[in-house]
């Protein structure tokens, strides 16, 4: 199993550009999550999904959108990138015991 995979690993965006962060898992997990991690801060939940076709907002959803058309994939869309979205983004999925498995992250810089 590859677990949770994310692409790209790094990206630099100009203010106002858009992009999609890709996330996929091969563990057949229903629950998936997107977090951002800023220096010195805890992981903040952006969006989550409890299954294909079902998504909902987390703690910091403004400026982001998600979709979940399959169990495996959970892409995160950034529209009109802003410097405040400079962060490291992690995707995760939940195992049977409630533990979350994380991808390697995408480091995004908006300038």
């Amino acid at each position: 199993n590859a677990g949770v995979t994310q692409t790209p690993k790094f990206r630099i965006l100009k203010i106002g550009q858009s992009m999609t962060l890709q996330c996929a898992q091969d563990m057949n997990h229903n629950y998936m999550y997107w977090y951002r991690q800023d220096p010195g801060m805890g992981l903040k939940l952006i969006y989550y999904s409890v299954g294909a076709g079902i998504t909902d907002k987390g703690e910091v959803p403004n400026g982001y959108n998600v979709s979940r058309s399959t169990t495996e994939d959970f892409p995160l869309r950034l529209e009109l990138a802003a410097p405040s979205q400079t962060s490291v983004y992690f995707c995760a999925s939940t195992g049977q015991g409630g533990e979350q498995y994380f991808g390697p992250g995408t480091r995004l810089t908006v300038t």
């Binding site: 949770v4 010195g40 939940l45 409630g98 533990e99 498995y101």
Partner: protein
Amino acid sequence: EDQVTQSPEALRLQEGESSSLNCSYTVSGLRGLFWYRQDPGKGPEFLFTLYSAGEEKEKERLKATLTKKESFLHITAPKPEDSATYLCAVCPIGGSTLGRLYFGRGTQLTVWP
């Protein structure tokens, strides 16, 4: 308002010097408490789940314990390869997001030879 507080923020230990990291939480009902290790530039790596007060889990030099208000991650005779940031997270009973974890800010552990 933080639901999970970790202390200390940073800890430097000499190789072999045992110590403990603390995670205190304020959720009214706990579904589970989770410990993760995070290396620089990588995603958090799952270590332990604790479900009820009195429970303990061990893995190599690490032992996690749980009380009704806090959890400790005990590190016995640490080695330089134990250097990482250790994250604590709780899953409260109820709430609006099924399975949501609330993370602390982490303890950055450095073990020097």
